[in-house]
Symmetry: C2
């Protein structure tokens, strides 16, 4: 482990990949990696989200080049893909165009899948960013597929969140629906050479007007001086395939970063996210404990009553909680539960 950490600190890709696999799996090894990464906070994380097909991968690809040519010695990409057993090939294929960066020693690319229960990614992505920080990565892009609640949460758990839409009637409304307007620090209208780009820009602008007014109202009532000058997400038009507008997008990300830094919001935001992460770890650990009880037979013992509708799911949960409490009081975790259960990862139940 120490060897891996040293190799990663020297920028060795294989070591970085192995460490990310470790944090993905969770458990004691993951904890040691996280412990080692806790002082590396120089990594700036940029989230990129939007509807499937909006061109997020191509944009990320362009942004990596931009970051590299503007002097970043080490750049990272975490591509978050949903879990899908038989679609593994398709997803890999989609990443092929990133391959040219794979030959660049200064670029680390990693796909992470959303396996099993909800929430696993919310923990694994920040841990993976910690590994990239150990390797000296100063800027990393977190790209998510899809615009669901988890995906938006993971992408917005970054310093600057870029929301990608396409021209066309209704797209800004759909972004609105998916909760994307609220998390955006920068908007991108990608494929802006298609008809409807200026209409989409107007729609977004209008939505932001409403949003800014609303936020201003909240800030005023909270009497918070720092919020006096709220950040208004700029709208950047790009054509990722040709590279048009990418420099503007890169500049907009930099402006947002300077906005945060000049108001000491960068550290404040990161502290808030740390607190949220602790909550998530606590929740996942508890879930694991419950799963041990449930899997050890507590659910099976109530299923017959449940199947016959003699109890409802909430009553079934009550009974399982009672069984768990009794087991815990009897010191089951020290004596009754087999050793291998104790060794499972804190995230094992979520994958």
């Amino acid at each position: 482990m120490v060897g891996l950490l040293e190799q990663a600190a020297n920028g060795e890709k294989v070591a970085v990949a192995r460490l990310i696999s470790l944090v993905e799996r969770g458990g004691d090894a993951a904890r040691e990696v996280v412990r080692h990464s806790r002082n590396n906070r120089d990594l700036y994380a940029v989230g990129i989200t939007g509807a499937p097909g909006a061109g997020k991968s191509s944009l990320t690809d362009r942004l990596v080049s931009e970051a590299r040519s503007s002097g970043a010695a080490q750049v990272g990409v975490i591509a978050v893909d949903p879990s899908s057993l038989f679609s593994g090939g398709a997803i890999l294929g989609d990443r092929v165009r990133m391959q040219r960066h794979a030959l660049d020693d200064g670029v680390f690319i990693r796909s992470m899948a959303t396996r099993g229960h909800l929430g696993g990614l919310a923990l694994a992505v920040p841990d993976a960013l910690g590994v990239l920080a150990i390797a000296g990565v100063s800027i990393a892009f977190v790209e998510t597929v899809g615009v669901g609640q988890v995906e938006v949460e993971v992408a917005s758990d970054t310093d600057t969140t870029v929301v990608v839409v396409n021209p066309g009637w209704g797209d800004s409304i759909q972004a609105n629906k998916a909760g994307l307007l609220e998390v955006a620090d920068v908007f991108v209208i990608n494929k802006a050479d298609r008809p409807g780009a200026s209409g989409t820009e107007r729609d977004l602008d209008l939505a932001l007007d409403m949003s800014a007014a609303f936020r201003h109202g909240r800030a005023a009532s909270a009497n918070d001086g720092l919020q006096d000058e709220p950040w208004r997400p700029p709208i950047v038009k790009t054509v990722a395939l040709t590279g048009d507008g990418i420099a503007d997008l890169w500049r907009a990300i930099g402006e947002h970063r300077r906005y945060l830094e000049s108001r000491e919001l960068l550290d404040a935001n990161r502290r808030e996210r740390l607190g949220k992460r602790v909550r998530e770890i606590v929740a996942s650990r508890i879930e694991q404990q419950v799963n041990q009880v449930v899997d050890a037979g507590a659910l099976d013992s109530v299923m017959p009553l449940l199947a016959e509708a003699r109890i409802d799911p909430y009553e079934a949960a009550d009974r399982i909680m009672e069984i768990a409490r009794d087991a815990s009081q009897a010191g089951a975790s020290a004596s009754g539960i087999p050793r291998e259960h104790e060794g499972t990862s804190s995230r094992g139940s979520q994958r």
Copy 2:
């Protein structure tokens, strides 16, 4: 409460709406409603999911008419919208076209929002379906916005799951990416009058071939007789705006239902979903207990160390778990925690 339940059983819409609000809020009242609904299992639930803008609302609207004219006395719609403070208006506007059904005494329409933490909807939607069952609803449609993990989970927690895509290169691949292929019982290519519909059909067909082969492999190795004749999701082309193909879609849903019923899979699937729901309730209840401890100061007590990177988030979680354990052993829930905390809903922490 008993009065409300009686009124709902008589099909009174106001009572149904109030009961759904109760189960949405969680807590003791929700539990009583769920207890009363546990024997009403005649409701058949159809999930409808797909990318934003695919036309799910219009399809649902058409399916409601289809269900009504084919003899369903009471039809329900649960429209699951993501939480968005200032987009409330847009979402409401989107539901306006459903208003014609709102005048129909045999149709219950309800929007539910995804508030706060993940997972709340996974509990609230089945509870709301229970209320609809009390009101005599025999078929209900659960329509979700977006194709994220939570949305797909909610839509697939139904008897028949309809996945909606649109014509166009890549859409089937995007569906694949979002994990939609695996949950689909019926595919719809909506807006099938646009170019590319037959190409999308071919793509889906191919993806299903791969998937079927894969499933067959699994089934064969599991040696499970029931799986001998796997269900292959039919692909239906529709134009929701004109109504083209809706009768075919309705027929496909009916065929899937008969497939499940003839193999006793309907009850088996429902039992499996019940077990999953119990797990979710247990997890949410424990999470609530921990949140009480976290909110009572445990997180605040570790934040300074965390902010200075003297501990990492996992160590912070350990300390909070210790505090929670100590509090629980000291009988804090009986004496130390203020009364109002005990009265909060089992889902309160997730909203």
